[in-house]
Amino acid sequence: MLPNLSHSEILRYSRHLLIPEVGLEGQRKLKAASVLVIGTGGLGSPVALYLAAAGVGCIGLVDYDIVDFSNLQRQVIHGTSTLGKLKVESARQRILDINPDIQVEVYNEAFTSENAMRIAEGYDIIIDGTDNFPTRYLVNDVSVMLGKANVYGSIFRFDGQASVFDAKRGPCYRCLFPEPPPPGLVPSCAEGGVLGVLPGTIGTIQATEALKLILGIGEPLIGRLLLYNALDMTFEYVKLRKNPKCKVCSPNPEITELIDYEAFCGVPGHDHDEGSAGAGWDISATDLASRLEGGEHVRLVDVREPHELEISRLQGADLIPLGQLAAHLSELDTAEEMVVFCKSGSRSARALELLVSAGFRKVKNLKGGINAWAREVDTSLPVY
């Protein structure tokens, strides 16, 4: 039995009720539906806002983070007034302002192998608005094991992808990507950046797909991958097929319970940009400052991209972007004391790895990057 709509709900949703494909029955289906949104960031923001406005009866929100100033360029569910608040609380406040008739469940925790089944089992549809490979594989496997549709979206700089992975009716995420790329090959948005409006485009597509699945209308993106490029303004599609040997959704799957996804992907399950090269290889900004003040000769190598120099720079540093480092090793001297740095320490940790494997030993990674320098040593520099 579908729930009834009150007079005020009928007025609120009148533009839906006028569409024959939705109508009163469709709106009642939306009211009866529950959707779990994993991540309340760039993608989760438009997803949760539009699902709430559309009248999806129950929305679950999973996130463990707090609202940061640098989120507001794209995470439109949050605002200046909720800076420093829990993201799930900030999001709940906003969507209940849009629509107080719906129910919002919040999970202020990371989505992990331990809690994923418990959180997800009560929902009809799962929406992947995460930012890292371990959580994407976890969301996929949970969706396959619980037999639920996983509405996928992913973004990088100007590129977006979207699909609906529903293993009962088509391929899953692992059918397309059986294995994650090696750590460090694909930069995260925290390192590589993202056009603020891009998650709006992709998240809105995810919300559209979720509504279509609930209403049972149209052609969902099952078995199709949408590829969007904002610079070229192109939408392209490729066909996805079920992998008969898929480790999780084939008839005889190898993976039948949740695994350790951080170990599987070789990276932590969150997109943090504070990098460390590991014990003994890091140097703090204040230690580096006192070594330089003491007159020590240290070669500074900036592995950021050239356009980042306009934001902040360290005097005397040589710029060798990470992607070009391997080709410029001959310009560096293994006998010289060296410190590599980037924005926050991740790219330089990879640079250090490369240098060490090439035989360099007198090299350190500036922990926290030039941002740590800006906070601890030279506050005239901006943090970005």
């Binding site: 760039g42 993608l43 995460t130 930012d131 990088f156 590129d159 590589g192 998650p199």
Partner: protein, 92 residues
């Protein structure tokens, strides 16, 4: 000549180019020609046995070459190849 679309994360290795024309009668020949021009791309796409790495998806028009004849799939002048990357961004 067939065109290959390069995804944003790999454009560092193609001097920023988003599309390159390739030459060859098969996908393998086209990829050999491409990686001869951009040698640093090769290690990102192929493993030591000259097979595509498991996280690399190469589509010919709208079909994964795995569903066709793999690297031996033949190419026509009007064909369009697309490398589909794993990207993970979204929450942050």
């Amino acid at each position: 000549m067939p065109v290959l679309r390069i995804p944003t994360p790999l454009r560092t290795y193609t001097q920023g180019q988003s599309e390159v024309t390739v030459q060859g009668g098969t996908v393998a020949e086209a990829m050999d020609e491409l990686t001869a021009r951009f040698p640093s791309l090769r290690a990102h796409l192929f493993n030591g046995d000259n097979q595509l790495r498991p996280f690399v998806n190469l589509f010919l028009n709208d079909e994964n070459i795995k569903e066709l004849q793999g690297l031996e799939t033949s190419l026509k002048e009007s064909d369009r190849l697309m490398l589909i990357p794993s990207i993970a961004g979204g929450r942050v």
